[in-house]
Symmetry: C2
Subunit: 116 residues, 2 copies
């Protein structure tokens, strides 16, 4: 969710089934408080049992995509129910997001490639 | 898959179930032929029956994420079996990608937000 560091490797494939939460967004001009909240959410999600990792990419001035990976539906429910996370989502709708879509999906197959 | 235009709105939520193919990648220094092939793939996938749309974001010099949305598993199989697509994937492993991960997932729930 934050732009303060560019990951250099994609999150690897896990053994299916697991869950992916795909969050695609375009932000408003009003970004006060966003970087701090985003960093805090990245920190907080690590404590969720069953959290596996996160990929993030953002085209400058364009679309941002964050994909969170979770071991099972229970892990996602825990993250979705987190009070601090819910408050951040509310503020996101009030101030930070022009538009967004969330797709919650069960991964059925996956594979990875790493150059030797 | 291409970087030649920044989409200004996320692909909207569809009625579940549908499929999302999440492709996360880091590219090599060797990008000869990549933009043309990427543009061609974007064109080609539109002809796949059941193709719903695509989101793409790339952090400059960092991670790229492409998410393709498909009505059902059959649509994904069609796209996966396309001969021109398979040739592009081979060339990608040979030249363009440092590493990538593909997660194929069935969307169970989704929702969107658009500022008024």
């Amino acid at each position: 969710m934050s732009d303060h560091e560019a990951p250099v490797t994609p999150v690897p494939a896990f053994e299916p089934p697991y869950y992916a939460a795909v969050f695609t967004s375009v932000r408003t001009q009003t970004q006060s408080g966003y970087p701090e909240t985003s960093a805090r959410m990245e920190e907080l999600v690590q404590d969720v049992p069953g959290y596996l990792g996160m990929d993030h990419a953002q085209t400058p001035g364009g679309l941002a995509i964050t994909v969170g990976y979770f071991r099972d539906a229970e892990a996602l429910t825990r993250w979705r129910s987190d009070a601090e996370h819910r408050a951040a989502q509310q503020r996101g709708r009030a101030e930070w997001y022009e538009s967004y879509t969330l797709h919650v999906a069960k991964v059925e197959r996956s594979h990875g490639f790493v150059r030797e």
